[in-house]
């Protein structure tokens, strides 16, 4: 599904990504772990077409990212730190606007259903600016999946969420997975990573230093591996 070859990104003179090779199969749920400034978010942004790589090749679904950006963008659902929502619009209006841009059919029904799924149907027509962080994040999740993306790119989705919002988010990811979606998730939350992901990638200094599959949601296994790679050397 996603093939990354020799991906490098240089900003000014600093190398952020150094020749990253990565291949992700359809339906996988992958967590990207790593210390701050390791290049995790940059990697995600390159995939989301928000950053142009300095060199290297990215092929998604058999399409080259450079040449077929528009058709690739249709497959992607991107959820960064910020909500990407318009403040004085209600959840419904936000979702309808983004649904329209993505060319979703029957966009209004779809939007209402999504707001219901994230448990905010009571606030359907309230402006987003009055919402709390957790509520905004739920709408932001709904926004990212409004067009049923085949690939989900999540940048630290669990930060600052309460227990209810976390379980809603996990349910969304799992139900997308059932539909055959591929998920890439940058996170610091090992517990959630172990819970929903079936493959872990550890990034350090712009390079992939470890790449393994986990079974049975084994949290200690992940922590051990991480400490070995990140804290063990220095």
């Amino acid at each position: 599904m996603i093939e990354i070859k020799k991906l490098t990104k240089q900003a000014d003179n600093k190398l952020i990504l150094r020749s990253v090779d990565l291949s992700i199969k359809k339906g996988e749920t992958v967590a990207i772990l790593g210390p701050n400034g390791a290049g995790k978010s940059t990697l995600l942004k390159v995939l989301a077409t928000l950053i142009k790589p300095t060199s290297g090749q990215v092929v998604i679904n058999g399409l080259d990212l450079k040449k077929n950006a528009i058709s690739i963008k249709k497959l992607l659902g991107y959820l960064p730190h910020s909500s990407l929502l318009y403040d004085h619009y209600s959840p419904l209006e936000n979702l309808i606007f983004f649904g329209n841009i993505y060319g979703v059919n029957k966009v209004e029904e779809k939007a209402i259903k999504l707001v219901k799924d994230v448990g905010l149907s009571f606030f359907l027509n309230e402006p987003v600016k009055n919402f709390s962080r957790g509520m905004i994040q739920r709408i932001a999740i709904a926004r990212a999946i409004v067009h049923d993306p085949e690939i989900l790119l999540l940048d630290e989705p669990h930060t600052g969420l309460d227990q209810g919002a976390i379980s809603i988010l996990n349910n969304v990811i799992l139900s997308m997975k059932e539909k055959g979606a591929t998920t890439l998730m940058v996170t610091h939350d090992f517990k959630q990573a172990a819970e929903i992901c079936d493959r872990i990638i550890i990034v350090k200094n712009g390079k992939i230093v470890d790449d393994f599959v986990i079974e049975d949601h084994n949290l200690t296994f992940v922590s051990e591996k991480y400490e070995l790679q990140v804290e063990g050397i220095s």
Binding site: L50, I51, K73, Y86, H88, N100, G103, R143
Partner: protein, 226 residues
């Protein structure tokens, strides 16, 4: 055309959001009214020679209130990083430009619709020229100004002090439009005998509009690229 469709969604989004908050439009109109009042202090409305400065005043209003709207056009997308939401969406950069242009242009026309009659009223201006041509000149001038303005607003939005940068970028580039439309407006409002010369100015402004609309269309990819 798909490009046009997304552009219309975007323009609708901006205008609808303006309808809800009424921030920019109200500011623009009040600002225009204030400029008129300031001009009435600077040039005595009772004096007959004042009529000569009216064409200039019209364009001063349009330019200054226009730049208020242009400044907000891309800065407003920085809140919650909604510009990223537009950039990851499957549409061309030209759609974003076109959508923003349509929204800004509509708002500019509304401001003109309110402030120009107000100006004529306050300065007790007797309209002698041809109204259709006057409207045409206003339309063409605003079109060019907003087309290049939207483009440069997208460029300036990358800077932290974009509100200060935009006028510095925009005014020198739009000099030909400003010269052309002020001359054409003056002839149409006060001296219809020289109409052929006004027509020449209109042609110059139209040529400018076409050239820069095309150039902006070609280059906007590079401005919105990340």
């Amino acid at each position: 055309m798909n490009q046009m469709r997304t552009a219309l969604f975007l323009a609708k989004k901006d205008l609808y959001s303006e309808l809800k908050t009424k921030q920019i439009l109200v500011t623009q109109i009040i600002f225009a009214a204030l400029v008129i009042v300031v001009f009435s202090f600077a040039f005595d409305p009772a004096n007959n020679t004042t009529k000569a400065v009216i064409p200039g005043v019209i364009w001063v209003i349009i330019v200054f209130s226009g730049i208020l709207g242009l400044n907000r056009s891309f800065i407003s997308e920085q809140r919650n990083d909604t510009i990223q939401g537009l950039l990851v969406a499957p549409m061309e950069a030209t759609s974003i430009y076109l959508g923003k242009f349509l929204a800004n242009f509509t708002m500019m026309l509304i401001v003109e619709l309110v402030s120009i009659p107000f100006l004529f009223l306050l300065f007790d201006f007797k309209f002698l020229g041809s109204i259709p041509y006057f409207i045409l000149v206003i339309f063409l001038g605003s079109f060019g100004f907003i087309a290049i303005g939207t483009f440069l607003a997208a460029l300036a939005a990358n800077s932290k002090s974009s509100e200060m940068l935009l006028p510095l970028l925009l005014f020198p580039i739009t000099t030909p439009i400003l010269i052309g439309v002020v001359q054409a407006t003056r002839i149409i409002l006060t001296n219809m005998e020289k109409f052929s010369s006004a027509l020449a100015w209109i042609q110059l402004v139209t040529a400018y509009d076409v050239i820069f609309f095309v150039v902006c269309f070609l280059l906007i990819d590079y401005v919105l690229e990340v």
